[in-house]
């Protein structure tokens, strides 16, 4: 953020400086009102609510840590944590690696690469509801497209993708990768285009081959890009909701029941706002600690 330094000049007298501050805050006021009312305040109320018993009507009652102990003793919640972790492993790694590989591919000077970029990017503008509908049909057991082509490759008997607890989460992950890998591709592509050409030339003079170029120039130069692609991808995976809601509703046998699904059911079906908020806080702690550990490991902070 070092390039966010101001370019204005420090006002001379103290009155001028106060006036200057007032003008600055007046400009920001409309946004700050939205920001405080709809983001900052709700975030604090959310944390507060996690320590209370709060229904849809009536006043909150302080419960201390009871919501948290209840959650940590709840089999359903622990299961949703495990399921979500499983999803993060299944989806986040391909989203990052494949995003990078796709960027490498469409960065090659190939004819038609712009068309390929556009096609891979297309799902980005499609709503999760439509994506979920399309993939339910593609993943359908007996007439689905995927099983038909897998069958041609010798995969038999057909996989009951969304109906079998073992394959449902991988199916959700496949859908998610198809839907969102393009964002990472575009970020890596921009990163690739920022790498100065002379670095590659220098590597070539030193006798580097194609893969050595990738290994010793491209990947190290993309470390700053990784520093935000990886946390944002992982956070997005921990929050998975729409795909599950549309395609499986958490089933079969709870195998795709995720934390966000737990929050949804607890808050908006059972109206147990306190427990749902505690689950939200736990989700926040998980994503935050992951981000910190990851940035530490990469020596960014």
């Amino acid at each position: 953020m070092s390039n966010l330094a101001p370019k204005g000049k420090r006002a001379a007298s103290s009155w001028n400086s106060i006036k200057n501050d007032l003008i600055a805050y007046a400009f920001m006021a409309p946004y700050l009102v939205l920001f405080i009312v709809f983001l900052l305040l709700p975030a604090f109320v959310g944390v507060y609510a996690s320590f209370t018993k709060w229904g849809i009507i009536g006043e909150p009652k302080w419960r201390g840590l009871k919501n948290y102990t209840k959650l940590l003793n709840s089999e359903l919640f622990i299961e949703s944590l495990q399921n979500t972790l499983y999803f993060v492993v299944l989806a986040a790694i391909p989203l990052i690696v494949l995003g990078f590989l796709l960027a490498l591919l469409v960065n090659q000077k190939l004819r038609g690469r712009n068309i390929a970029r556009a096609i891979v990017f297309l799902p980005h503008v499609v709503s999760v509801a439509a994506v979920g509908i399309i993939f339910q049909w593609i993943l359908e057991r007996s007439s689905g497209l995927l099983n038909y082509y897998l069958g041609l490759l010798g995969v038999n008997p057909p996989i009951n993708w969304l109906g079998d607890p073992d394959s449902a989460m991988p199916a959700i992950a496949i859908t998610t990768i198809w839907w969102t890998v393009n964002g990472n591709m575009i970020i890596y592509l921009a990163g690739l285009q920022d790498i100065p050409e002379d670095l590659y030339e220098a590597a070539r003079i030193d006798g580097a081959g194609r893969w050595q170029e990738v290994r010793y120039v491209t990947i190290p130069m993309l470390m700053p890009v990784n520093a935000f692609v990886i946390p944002l991808t992982v956070i997005a995976c921990w929050r998975v909701f729409g795909q599950v809601f549309v395609m499986t509703r958490g089933g079969p046998q709870g195998s795709t029941f995720t934390i966000a699904q737990y929050i949804y059911e607890t808050a908006f079906v059972k109206f147990d706002m306190g427990v749902a908020s505690a689950a939200g806080v736990i989700l926040m702690l998980i994503t935050l600690s992951f981000t910190i550990i990851q940035l530490r490991a990469m020596k960014v902070i």
């Binding site: 946004y31 004819r111 921009a190």
Partner: protein, 287 residues
């Protein structure tokens, strides 16, 4: 791109460059994987009932029909959902643009007390999972009797900090000299914003506008919980709640509704592609 079509993938002596041909093969494979689901959705939507489950799957029906597209609007209040989505996305986008442009100016161009703190707090919300906000926002909307209104769906989305960040970045790149010259001519700060910053920032404003619009159009979790009548329900929520539930209904109608929801987005994207690419690559945020 100095590749000639005839020679690409072929060495001068006429032998094949297998490495390049492999790259082309991979690229075509990738295009098929990402393109086929769209085509399959569309093809299914124009298949008569007796052809939907044909085996092996066919990529074009013997007797294509548009029946399902006409039936679509009788089966679901699709037009109403579209209208709602359009209104909600427009409110969010206009509100976002107006407030973000104003906020980005002092953040980029003025020295004032608390600037670092304000920036830090705004940017730190990028790491905040939005689920923590759902309960308080929901209870607040209920309390003020705002549930099932366009306001409740559209306005909270405008608090997102992505546009402020992007515009602040862009305003920083505008030369100070332009601003100083205008100030010497007695231009007020608001005048400056209007006459210098906004005209010079058209690309970034377009990027923020398009991004915000698409994000709002596709937003799912919040609209799902805060709207439960067709008077305010948006397209994704309508699709998820009524159409996509376990695919129990007739496939043609289901795929036609998915296609009807997807086709406008696809056209919108093809027209405005470069703004998406810029928005993602400069901020890393994907909405």
């Amino acid at each position: 791109m100095a590749v000639s079509w005839r020679k690409d993938g072929v060495y001068r002596d006429g032998s094949l460059n297998y490495g390049r041909l492999a790259l082309y093969a991979i690229m075509i494979f990738v295009a098929i994987i990402w393109g086929a689901p769209f085509i399959w959705m569309f093809v299914t939507s124009i298949k008569p009932d007796n052809e939907v489950f044909s085996y092996p799957p066919t990529w074009w029906p013997d007797e294509p029909t548009l029946e399902f597209y006409t039936r679509l609007f009788d089966s679901f209040p699709m037009l109403q959902w579209f209208r709602n989505s359009l209104i909600v996305a427009t409110i969010t986008t206009v509100l976002t643009l107006a407030t973000n442009i104003l906020a980005a100016y002092p953040l980029a161009r003025m020295r004032f007390r608390g600037r670092r703190i304000v920036l830090l707090i705004i940017l730190s919300t990028f790491l905040l999972p939005g689920e923590i906000l759902l309960v308080p926002l929901f209870l607040g909307m209920i309390k003020f009797k705002l549930a099932n209104t366009y306001f409740s769906i559209a306005v909270p989305a405008a608090a997102n900090a992505f546009g402020v960040f992007l515009m602040t970045q862009f305003f920083l790149s505008i030369p100070v000299e332009l601003e100083e010259a205008a100030r010497l001519d007695g231009c007020s700060r608001l005048g400056l914003l209007w006459r210098i910053f906004i005209p010079l920032s058209k690309p970034v404003i377009a990027t923020v506008a398009i991004f915000t619009f698409v994000r709002s159009w596709n937003d799912f979790f919040w609209p799902l919980i805060i709207s439960n009548t067709d008077a305010t329900r948006t397209v994704p929520v309508g699709l998820a709640v009524f159409v996509g539930r376990g695919l129990s209904m007739r496939f043609g109608v289901i795929m036609a509704s998915a296609a009807a929801a997807t086709i406008p987005a696809v056209i919108f994207f093809l027209l405005l592609q470069r703004y998406f690419v810029r928005g993602i690559s400069t901020t890393g945020l994907q909405g």
